[in-house]
């Protein structure tokens, strides 16, 4: 971006230099074009940068500081307490708190669900849509629909579908002769599995848009050549399409890894009030909402970041290895 701007400014200067006697009307204190552009850029960038500084940088710095503090009820001030909050975090994860331990386990499980179930399904469906299988237009709408419906409506629709008396799933199962229908959302681990199922269903749309967009950019000549060579569809997918769109898949995979730390709305909406399906993000959200022991919650978030960020960076590095970047 900066290179393009510099080039643009240089080109303008050249233009002005070549026409020293251009017929521009003289103006009093008018700034030259370069300065005006600079002011424009500064003004345009100032607001987002200030916003980033206040709402991201300062907030995160404050969180890090708070993670090493505790509230002193007698003075009404936060005081330094070293690593006490972190010790509590790891003691609770280690088993002192069943709820925290469960939240961490649930959160970690979002990684395989997102990256090894949802993502491969998205790749598969994207490829089929690209190959224009019969009904692909309809499937495109079906897959994308959950992405444009508000999450509150979508979760309500999903859970009502499995309601024992109001939903449509149980009657169908009974008609098919299933006698023992489980409690979908009423007990662990069924409720957690249902949340995973929801995440897969609702998450396909966005992934499919990204991946099918990348596949459609593959030059037609390559696909035509493979067709002439008699390459099978499976081989075309695994040895041509996937390597060519690997950067997109890699990015989606890395984003999927972050779901371990970010999933919150789905358990909150699908299983309200349940402690079985908590996640790291939901636990922190509930804690902050109740305003109880913010330093501990800061330490919890920071500890998760310290553990998670290197893992995600290693994954990102590893994801860049299987296929070399190809430009087309």
């Amino acid at each position: 971006m900066s290179i393009r701007l510099e080039n643009a400014v240089t080109a303008e200067n050249e233009y002005t230099a070549e026409q020293p006697n251009s017929e521009k009307p003289p103006r009093g204190h008018r700034l030259n074009r370069k300065k005006r552009k600079l002011i424009f850029i500064v003004v345009m960038l100032a607001l987002p940068l200030i916003q980033l500084f206040i709402f991201w940088f300062l907030v995160n710095v404050n969180t890090i500081i708070m993670a090493f503090q505790e509230f002193d009820w007698s003075s009404g001030k936060y005081i330094f307490n070293g690593f006490d909050n972190f010790i509590r975090v790891f003691r609770e994860i280690g088993g002192e708190s069943a709820v925290t331990r469960r939240a961490v386990i649930n959160s970690v499980l979002y990684f395989p669900v997102t990256c090894f179930i949802s993502l491969p399904l998205s790749i598969l469906f994207s490829y089929f849509l690209y190959k224009k299988v019969p009904g692909s237009a309809a499937f495109r709408v079906i897959f994308f629909l959950p992405s444009i419906i508000p999450v509150a409506v979508l979760t309500m629709t999903f859970s009502f579908s499995f309601d024992a008396t109001l939903g449509f799933v149980n009657p169908i199962l009974r008609a098919l002769g299933v006698d023992h229908i489980p409690s979908w959302f009423g007990q662990y681990p069924n409720n957690q599995i249902m949340i995973f199922a929801y995440c897969i269903w609702a998450g396909l749309g966005t992934n499919i848009v990204l991946i099918s967009g990348a596949i459609s950019r593959i030059p037609v000549e390559i696909m035509e050549y493979s067709k002439l060579e008699g390459v099978s569809k499976a081989r075309e997918l695994f040895q041509i399409a996937i390597p060519l769109v690997w950067p997109t898949i890699s990015t989606t995979f890395v984003l999927g890894c972050t779901s371990v730390f970010t999933v919150m709305m789905q358990p909150l909406m699908l299983t309200p009030g349940s402690s079985d399906t908590q996640t790291i993000a939901l636990m922190i959200y509930n804690g902050v909402l109740n305003g109880r022991n913010l330093p501990y919650l800061s330490a919890f978030g920071l500890a998760m970041s310290v553990i998670g960020v290197p893992i995600i960076l290693v994954i990102k590095w590893a994801m860049g290895k299987p296929f070399a970047d190809v430009e087309y």
Binding site: W73, K77, A164, W184, F185, N290, G291, R292
Partner: protein
Amino acid sequence: MKNKVLKFFVLIMAVVMALSVGVMFAACGENSPYDLKIAVVHKEYGQRWINALARKFEEETGLVVEVEANPNLQSEIPNRLQNGSDDDLFFSHGITWELYAAQGMLEPLDDLYEMEVSDGVTFGSKVLPQFRTAARFNDHYYKVAWTNGTGGLVYNKKMFEDYGWSVPTVYSNPANPTCDPNVGAVGLLELCEVILDDTNGDVKPFVWSSETYYWDYVVFDWWAQLAGVDKIEAYTQLGSPEVFNPTTSPEQKEALKAWKNLIADHPEYSMEDCAGKQYTAAQMEFVTGRAAMIPCAQWLESGMMGNYDESTCVMDLMPTPFIDGAKTDENGDPIAVNYSVGSTNSGDSILIPADAPHKDTAKQFLVFMFRDDNLKLFSEETYGVQLAADYSNVTLDDEATDFMKSVYNINANSQKFDLLSSAMPVLEGFLSLDWPIEGVQHYASLVADPNTDIDALYQSNYESIVSRWSEWFE
């Protein structure tokens, strides 16, 4: 052309930014267009009540009141307190007000509690005693409790009348299996059988949802019936870990066992898979007459207003049936108790920020609000919800619904209790008093596995509390 577009764009941006800055400074200005700004969490109780009170206050005083009804207020209050705002009064659920009081962000309300609401009646004496105690922190009053919540079993009064069922007064009375009030006290357990028999199972006794905390309103009443409200109050003081000893204080455990016997051991008494049902679905099942009772609280009627047909459902709240072993009075009659819904940990609160621009007017409004005529107005506009105030001089109109009257009667005829506590482990988030240690309810797990050993569960919790007690209080 390109330059013109650019100039136009810059002009628009400049106007927008100038307007933003202007609005920002206008908001910070001293000449606010109102004399009192009230921010109210907009949830179960709606906003009719605050609008009605605000308009009446305006008429009486000539002051201008601005009302903000905001569903997200609870999460916004910390920021508004820390960063300053033009709010004079907050009405919200579940704020850890002690945290902000300790930091000097809340206005001390000692003078408010001394102000006169009517001749010779101070504001403090108008607030119910247990809420007055719970409003103190570091020897000062910092909050006013908002509502005196009333919960329990809501039943379909029309259905009960149509089938000739009597409202149960005791948990169980095996001597009266037909639930004939002429034979003896009607038992809840026996009534469930009668409901199933009379309706061939088409109507289930109960519907409830995955938000199982609604059962707290029944189970906590049983707990307090067994323990007595004094023992519950001592429990909230956390004098020693022995308050959790299931041998010397088995009441909560026994109440939970009674629930297990009623619900987990009798799945036929509830609609199918209630533990997996959304709250709205459970409410729909109740108002459409598919279940006779639902555990809920005082907001059910206002929450469902306009969404059900009175030819199918008329709501009423029953006093929680007495459990065997309930404490009795000097006449040997069991003592009626009722849990103040929403009174766990820090509870519902009315707060005045320390830097509120119109603190005196805010206090004036609270005094106005706790006048008998306005207590009544609040209840009418919320269809039965009561402020945390003495309603002994308030009489409901004849037009009040059955539900409103039932809420009123339960509050008037029960010893109210709560689980409010300013003990350090509670404030620090180490301990939850409703379901120690971590606030995990056991209802869904008991339904999933009715063989769960409740005794072992409580013993294990007690041992864990004992081992961590000194650390919490160090």
